[in-house]
Structure formats: C-alpha cells, structure tokens
Amino acid sequence: MYFLPLTVAVPIIAVMVLAVLRFWPEIRKLLSILIKLVVKA
C-alpha cells in the first residue's frame, strides 16, 4: 500500500533520467551556446 506512490513516481523519474541520458549532450551544447551568448566576454 505505502509503495503505491512509486507507481506514479518511478515512471516519471525513469522518463526524466532516460531523457537526460539521451539528450543531455545536445542540451548541454545548446545551453553552453546560450550562456556564452548572454554572458559578457
């Protein structure tokens, strides 16, 4: 019974982890470009 919340949390966290593992290099590159663009050299 007290593990029921995990039926909601585990799929959501799994999707977040998988998304990060799959797209993190691209996201990081994009963020890096954005940061370099807005930060004073």
Binding site: A9, I13, K36, L37, K40
Partner: protein, 297 residues
C-alpha cells in the same frame, strides 16, 4: 459502485481511477512548476535576496579585489584606496539597484537602461595614488576599466542583448499582460487538481473515503517525482556549467537555485506528507478488513 455488495455503478472504475490519479499527479506537478516560474518572473524580493546574498557579495568582493590588485600592479595606483571605495556596502547598494532593474525587465518588459555604477571618489583615489611620471595610462581610462569591471561582476550578462530582445518581444506581445496571466497558472493548476480529485470522489460513489488511496498515491507520487527531478538537476551541475562562462554569474545562479530549491523541496515534502496522511487514513479505515490495498474494491 457499492463495495459491500461487490457491484460497481461504473464499469472499469479502477482503471479510470488510476488514469485520473496520473492526471491529478500531472496537475499537482504543473501547480508546483508554475509556482516556481511565477516566483522567478514576478518576485522582486527573490531577485533582491539573490543579489544581496552574503555568499554572492563575498564572491563578488573577492573577484573585484583580485582584479583591483591586478590593475593596481599594472598601472601603479594604490589598490587599498580603491578597495575602500568599492566596499561591501557599496556592492550591496549597486546589487540592489540592478536587481530592481532586472525584476522590472522580467515582470513588466521594462527596457530602461541598466543603472550604471559611478563613484566620483574613484578617479581621485586613482589619480592621487599614481606616480604621474611613470604612469602608463591616464586616470580616466583606469577608472573606466575599474567601473566596467565592477559592473561586469555585479551583472555579468549583456544587458543590451537582453533589452533589445525584450524590445522585440514587447512589439509582439503584451509582456505585463502575459506575466499577469502566468501568475494565475498556479491557481489554475490547483483548481484543475481539485476538479480531478472531485472526479475521483464521484467515481468512488458512496464510499468516497476510498478516494484517499488515489489522492495519496498522486500527491506522494508527485512529491517523489519533484524530489527526483531536483536530484537529477543537482547531478547535472548547472552551477558548474555557468561557472565555465562566468564565476560571478555562477554565484548568483547558485543562490537562485538554492532559494528556488528550498521552495520546491518544501512543496515536495508537503505533498509527500499529505499523500502519506491520505494513505494512512485509508489504511486505518480498511486495514483490518484487507490484506492488500485493492481487495475492498
């Protein structure tokens, strides 16, 4: 619907209840996320708190003092005299002014020019401590360098890029109106959550108390998910990523994430507490008659 005689007024009741549970979790997550976004967009106190955070000011002060030492060695003026002018109190004042400007830019799309830092005593401090005969640079140029360095430390972003971007956005949208609408999102999320909770209660019919199992699962599940998202974000190290571009900005980002993280963490813990309170109540009601969680249905 009646659990005692085993009849259900609504077919696939449990299936629908679980779908609504996930929907409720989504609505609760939207409520938390939109609350944090609204905080960032409209809470001037939050930005002032970040800008005047003791750790941020200390980091800016040490960065500025290191640069003053470097410039003093290069141009031959007294670093101590300049450091007295660019004091902690002065930095707090400048940070406060720039935080107010930044808040207006974010919440109202106000593209007024960023407040500039200027101290009339700075030129005198530089000029009086320089050896004019060996000086390689005139005091005005050194003062301009120092002023730019202080401004860059306090606000490391390109303000012209931000104000130009905001000007373009202003031409296409009513920024204050959009922000005002965004402030209603948390309430909308809450109303949607209540509506979904109401639907679950309706689905349970006379034995509404059975809804507690679904409410508890959704609330505590959202709490776990928010905590999970925070751990993932922490592992990605956004502060270190910003630090690669600018150390002073990393301090401000760290302070902002810390303050927002507190609110998100508190919200997640409240959801966890509320969720498990629902599950405990449900267990107390049905615990003696069941061995699992679902046998009552």
């Amino acid at each position: 619907m009646n659990a005692q005689n085993g009849k259900k007024a609504f077919p696939y009741e449990r299936g629908f209840a679980w779908v609504l549970t996930f929907l409720l979790a989504g609505c609760l997550a939207i409520t938390i996320l939109s609350t944090l976004t609204v905080q960032i967009l409209t809470n001037a106190g939050l930005h002032l708190g970040v800008a005047t955070d003791g750790a941020v000011i200390d980091s800016q002060l040490s960065h500025i003092h290191a640069n003053v030492d470097m410039l003093a060695e290069e141009y031959g003026f007294s670093a101590e005299a300049v450091k007295k002018i660019i004091s902690r109190e002065e930095l707090l004042r400048v940070n406060g002014e720039i935080a107010a400007w930044w808040s207006h830019l974010l919440s109202e799309g106000d593209t007024a020019t960023m407040p500039r830092w200027y101290s009339p005593d700075l030129e005198e401090a530089v000029a009086s401590s320089m050896n004019r005969e060996t000086a390689q640079m005139d005091p005005q140029t050194i003062v301009a360098d120092l002023t730019e360095m202080v401004e860059r430390t306090v606000f490391p972003l390109r303000e012209t890029l931000l104000t130009t971007g905001m000007d373009l956005v202003n031409k296409r949208a009513d920024v204050p109106g959009v922000v005002r609408s965004a402030t209603k999102l948390p309430m909308l999320g809450l109303v949607m959550s209540l509506a979904v909770a109401g639907l679950i209660a309706l689905l349970m019919g006379r034995e509404m108390i059975r809804s507690l199992k679904y409410y508890g699962t959704a609330a505590a599940g959202t709490g776990f998910s928010v905590l999970g998202a925070m751990v993932i974000l922490l592992c990605l190290g956004p502060k270190a990523m910003v630090a690669e571009a600018s150390q002073p900005l990393a301090g401000e980002v760290g302070s902002l994430l810390g303050k927002i993280g507190w609110e998100a963490g508190l919200g997640a813990l409240l959801l966890l507490a509320a969720g498990y309170a629902c599950l405990i109540l449900y267990r107390r009601k049905y615990g003696k008659t069941i061995t699992g969680g679902d046998q009552t249905e």
